[in-house]
Symmetry: C2
Subunit: 199 residues, 2 copies
């Protein structure tokens, strides 16, 4: 024991958070105790509610406390036959914000990472396979990140989709709009050349 | 609303923590939901317990859920007439770990900072004044940090103590043991010269 039991427990508990070591855990505990009791109480209640009630959307796997997330439950998307595969709920948000996609999503909640023990089933690919088999999907858009793991995951899913009659596409990689060529890395530049389109 | 209501509330609630912006708040929420439900529940319970039950020690102001902290309640310290003033509970820990002090403490929980609206009463200096007036203290050791604010706070308390008959001392500043002179800043080096002792 270092401080009083309840203070020690709080400091220990903060260390579950990503990027929080002993020093920041202590700083967090002291700041809440000294200046943010109400905010600390609110965080406690939010944690309790979210940890016990939030689960995965039945259809797309994103986080939600309902059976279906708001997108999957939306009648406007009911007839959509495009399915976009992303790594995280934040990616769904980014694509929705761009306003150019009105299909459905499938959220992997990660990417294949054999070294961390994350295989196909951890990403719900068994659920995805069933959705593809149902015949409701006409196009599968692979929007995993343009990283080694994201590409490997996209490749794995493309193989999986081959046994079904559907169009499979990968989002385009290239120079970002507003970006300057001289600051773009070589791999991206190479991809922007190989993916060039006639004008 | 961005994600589901409970997930949004959790992300918002995390932003009360020092150094946590929207991106890290999201990362914390997702990591707990995806991989650390038990740890998240534990953090929620620890927050609830600490925010509602932890208060300040009646004598020294450090954080504790009891009326007196373990040091103030210790019979071994009952007769001690030295009182060491520090800025934070972590400083008490550091001094205790050094094993060379067996007196009592007074924890300011900060330092004077007029720009942040932190004045004498916020540091419990009214309580400290009463303790000094009680006649139980024979030596007051000022162990605030060697920063501008820490020095100003020490100076303020030294003035406050003048009206009482007691010894007031400031901990020594100088080259840390094991430190190399060439890497020590000029101010510290100057202090180590002016505070030199005959051998
Ligand atoms: Zn959904
Ligand atoms: Zn105490």
């Amino acid at each position: 024991m270092k401080f009083s039991p309840l203070v020690d427990e709080l400091i220990q508990a903060f260390k579950v958070l990503p990027g929080v070591g002993p020093k920041s855990a202590q700083r967090m505990a002291f700041q809440l105790l000294e200046r943010q009791r109400a905010g600390g109480m609110k965080l406690g209640r939010a944690l309790d509610a979210a940890m016990t009630q939030v689960d995965h959307c039945r259809d797309c796997r994103t986080f939600t406390e309902e059976e279906l997330c708001s997108i999957c439950a939306s009648p406007r998307r009911g007839e959509a036959r495009q399915l976009c595969v992303v790594e995280s709920p934040a990616d769904v948000l980014a694509i929705e914000a761009s306003g150019h996609y009105s299909g459905k999503y499938f959220v992997l909640m990660g990417h294949l990472s054999p070294l961390d023990g994350i295989g196909p089933d951890d990403l719900g690919l068994d659920i995805l396979a069933k959705r593809l088999a149902s015949g409701d999907v006409s196009e599968l858009i692979l929007a995993t990140n343009p990283t080694v793991e994201g590409e490997a995951t996209a490749h794995y899913i493309a193989e999986l989709a081959k046994q079904h009659e559907l169009k499979v596409s990968r989002i385009a990689h290239g120079v970002p709009v507003g970006g300057e060529l001289e600051y773009v890395d070589g791999t991206t530049l190479a991809l922007s050349f190989s993916g060039r389109q006639q004008v």
